[in-house]
Symmetry: D5
Subunit: 177 residues, 10 copies
């Protein structure tokens, strides 16, 4: 079953902090009290993946303004993440901390690990400051997700969260609900 | 776990065909060979729900042009669906066939039935002509989903499906991939 | 096995109070110390159902006089119940609180939920002030139940309950036992 | 759960035929293709019981006219039934065949056997010619059931069965449905 | 296995006291400290049964003199026992309290209940003042048991019990052991 | 439970034929088509035991006339039986075949083996020509059984078996039933 | 597995003391602190058995001198043992206490009970003063055991026990080890 | 339980043939149709062990004359057995084939393997030409077994086997049985 | 337990062929009939790992001459292996096919997957042409393995395999065995 | 799975101390705080085995200098080890304590016991002072292991242990890491 409306699973894993170039760890604990976007992708060094991460990175000012923590995660090691960022032109200037889920355990808990292939599906989860998953979007490998739609939803969720109002379909920030 | 990249569950249920005003049935069998959008919502006669269904209905020409079958489903009976369409101003002119999942079994198979409340979560599934779920988007009750993003993804999936190409993030039809 | 001569199952569910037009809840707890009639019917917006509820409503003065709480219940939501009462001419002036058993759990506990159809059977249960089920009458969908026979039995049960006497068949209030 | 809308349980037991004064057997097989009323009562030689059986017997012309087979059943032996009919003034002229369920197995199958007391509850089941239970009415020991209501329901069921129409509450034969 | 040389099973049941004409209860507790004869028979209102009970009744002075409590038991109700005694000429003047084992549980504990027929076998058990079963005699339905042999054994048991002597076969009271 | 009205258990064991002084075997197979009396006793070389066997032996002409096979059985070996007959004055002239149940298996099957003592109870079983146990009489160690009562019952059983009549209590051959 | 080098099983049984002619009991408890020889044989009143017991009896002075308790055991009762000693010429003057293992439980614990025959194998166990089995010799029915070899081993064991020395094969008392 | 009167367990193991100085195998199959003595001892290179094997070797002419195959077995390897024979003065001239039970499986099957020590107990088994174990003698480590008693028993067994006679205790060849 | 002397587990996985720069697959099937070295290492882009692979690569002429297939395997994807080879100076000129065990299933089968870390231990397995594992060497992360010792062992194994001779410790090719 | 990076199994066994010629015991407890080499070999008195033990013995000065405890272990008894050392020319001057694993339990715990043969594989385990297994090398029977490679690894491990540095492949003491 979906994780939506349930508490985010507890996790902790090694990571590579692209902003500082250092190895670190990232955990569900660090997301407590913040809006989070957990964003799984299949593997380092593939075509679609850096496009999506780069797109999120390009909206980092907006996401920071909204107070949102974005965590890209794949089944690669932190060593791989480091080389990926260092050698992939599209990722130049990346500021995100990338989760190294090389056991697959974090993706398993979010229901997006493909056991027979040993990689994660593209699954994107929005977490509210109470640690509850409020939205999940998972797509098969060949089509990317829209970062603009992500930001639209985050604004709508933050509005609903702070006002208790309900947002109709196609709501955009500033539109009268 | 997610249904993405797996075969759509088999289902059959009673339904109300708003185009003809008659009771009918709808099944997974009827979606074979077509692109489908299975769209769960919590209940008839609530505020957010008709907004989303109306938004999909307003894009029906576009969706028909893409050859996409849209099926809204809730845990209400077909009797309830009929009265809902007849009495809700926002649904005037609705042409969709609405699934009556009053056992909750269809939503259970898609992982979006909330047992303790007896209603479905807002879960939207895109099914390709091979009957495979290629995308799932599920959101908690208070925020609606974007129909435009749905159409963007459908176009991208159809493009990828017919060409075998992979679409990067934020792809729109006509943009060079 | 039948529930007769056993304690009424514990339950709590959302409801629509047709007397005030507000949403509320109804529970087995609220029936303690009173005579109750739990009356399941299949679905809102169908033909037979409002007839029976209307018939009970038309005898409401008599039932109030006997101190009996009548609770109609179906598998519809409280939203559906509200629209049902608002739009069904036969239910004009309804004063009952209608239980919204959209999980089916209450009907399951009373043994009258049809799993494969997701609706309740027509089952009527008389509960005495000690919370014990003293009578059950369940009928298939196509034949309604008699409200007059219900009132006859209630009077006979109240008589037996207060005097400890046993009532022969066909007993009517005032007839010598 | 209730037996309503399910097939009548298969049974066979010894019996006393009060019309001929002979011992015989009675089985579910003998009810096939006919309307039947299976009527359990606690025990021979008690006060309420002969009243109810006598009331049904007094309506035997009507019941025969409707083609209905009435089978009173208790946990007593056929020897007991014979002496009961022979010595109880109220049962003079009885024409029914009385089932001797001294193992309790038939009442168990209908869900009305009280294990700790070794007697049946007062449960009345209407069976249609297809062998399906269409109505169940079970009451605690101290209040009898109405034979007139039974006849009203039988007429309504036969009408619904032959015409496929649905009968509203309080329907009586000849009233416009 | 046999109950002989084991403690009598614990039991309690409703009963009819033929000496006073009142309903009562009888239990294993009431036999403590006395010699008892528990005597099962198949059913009231049959041919062999009253013969045997009458034979024991006719020796009641002798049995009283020996301080023996005789309890006839069948699967009939206390209501049935009352009518049996009132209407059976052979039982005129009966002074025994008759156990109503309509659940069959007492006969089950003594190993003489025939499940598929719902009646008791003819089983006669002698209980000593310590509550121990010292003899069992069980016969199939068609042959009765000898009351004289019962009395012979009771005298022999009481002699052995009080003296600790062992009685050879065919011993009669007064004969030299 | 009692063995009465069930088929005699199958058995085969070593034996001592006192008529010839030879060792042999005895089995349930040898009783087929005949009336049989299986008579267990605790042990060779004790006081009560030879009394009872001697009593049966003294009635051997009568028992032969009735066509009854009598089999005394204890947990002793055939060697022990031989010495018992040879050295016990009361058994002089014994003509019976004595079963050597030194495994206790035959007594176990008849429910009369006392596991903790390794001896049989005094249990006497009457078997009809169909191999069905029609009567069981089991007594604790200190009181013997009546051979005359045995013969009375055998005659009654044979009468009932050949005529299908039922014998009342205290019936003796020649008395009008 | 063998009992050698394990503690002797705990046991208690009835017995016949041939020295006094009285019934008694014998238990493992009575062997504590002494050298014991537990000697099973198949049955009283057979050919080989008294030979072996007689042979041990003839060496009783020697065995007493060594402080060894010899216990012959078979599956016969104490009554049988008494008559066996009284009537068997070879056993005249027997001074041993004979165990009556008529349940077979003692032989079962020593692994020498033949279930399907209900007799013990010829098994001889030497027990040291600590209750440990130091030697087992078991033979099939047709060959007897040597009492002289038994005494040789007992002397060797007592020597080894008191000195801690190890005895080579064929050691005899007094020979240099 | 003991192996006596059961078939010898099936086994096969590596071995050292001291007569030829070669490695070989030995199995239960090779004993079929012959008298065999399976003789377990704890370990090569210990004090008591060669004494016993040497004693058997010294009687080899007698044992050959009786047609008996003697197999000494320990948990040592065949390499160890070879060096043992080559370096142990007492074993000079040894002609036996020594079983190398270094898995312990053969001793386990004969019930004489001590799991916690990884060595065999001193257990000696006589096998008849039908492969049946007719005698077992097992002793704790500190006392050896008598080879003369072994030969006495073998002669007795062979006599009994060929004549069907039963040998009393202390029987020696030539003595009248 | 160790895999040594057992058949190599069956496996198949994606791989990167560094000789051609193409993606491919590698399986146990491809090793049949050849000498193989399966060499697990923890992760791409770490310090020790390329040293070891480079060392094997530098001896590739020698290994080819011996007809040995060397397969380095880690839990990284084939995409990662490609970038690793392309960007790591030490791996310049690498000719090996590198297994991509990103499910961890191959390392699990060889017993060298650390579940809680999601990486492989350094385990090196030599496989003979019959598919049997003849040697395993596994070391903790901080110490590398000797390629010269590997080649020494391979030569020794090939010698033993072709001649059936046994090699003593420290054997080097050409030294007299 | 491999033992590498896990704690060494706990063990204790009998042993032969070749330095003193006395029997003793050796346990995992005695290795605590020291570097250890546990070295299994198949059996005493075979060809390859003394070569390897002798090779280690010849490097004893070096190993002592490194503070390494070497424990050779086979499934032979301590008696066998003693004779092996005393009679094998290659082992002259041996100073090691040899473990007697005749139950096979120690080899089982290290995963190198071959159950069906009852001997150990050639498995060599390096244990660090924390009791952790840091390396395992196991080879099939026909090829020996290199003592020089062992010493190279021990030096590398000790260096890594004391400095925390990581050693690349082919590292030798003194080479720059």
């Amino acid at each position: 079953s979906t994780l939506v409306m349930r508490r985010m699973p507890e996790f902790e894993m090694e990571a590579y902090d692209a902003a500082t170039g250092h190895y670190t760890t990232i955990s569900s604990e660090q997301l407590k009290g913040k809006w989070g976007v957990i964003c799984f992708y299949p593997a380092d060094f593939t075509f679609v993946c850096p496009t999506e991460i780069a797109a999120m990175n390009s909206q980092l000012d907006k996401l920071n303004e909204l107070g949102v923590v974005v965590v890209p995660i794949s089944g690669d090691t932190k060593f791989s993440h480091k080389r990926f960022v260092e050698t992939e032109p599209l990722l130049e200037g990346l500021k995100l901390t990338m989760g190294a889920d090389n056991t697959g355990n974090v993706a398993r808990k979010f229901g997006v690990w493909i056991e027979q292939e040993g990689v994660a599906l593209r699954g994107r989860f929005i977490i509210n400051p109470d640690g509850v998953v409020v939205a999940e979007e998972t797509v098969a490998d060949s089509v990317g997700r829209s970062v603009m739609e992500l930001i639209r939803q985050l604004e709508a969720w933050q509005h609903a969260y702070s006002t208790g109002e309900v947002c109709p379909a196609n709501w955009h920030k500033g539109k009268k609900t």
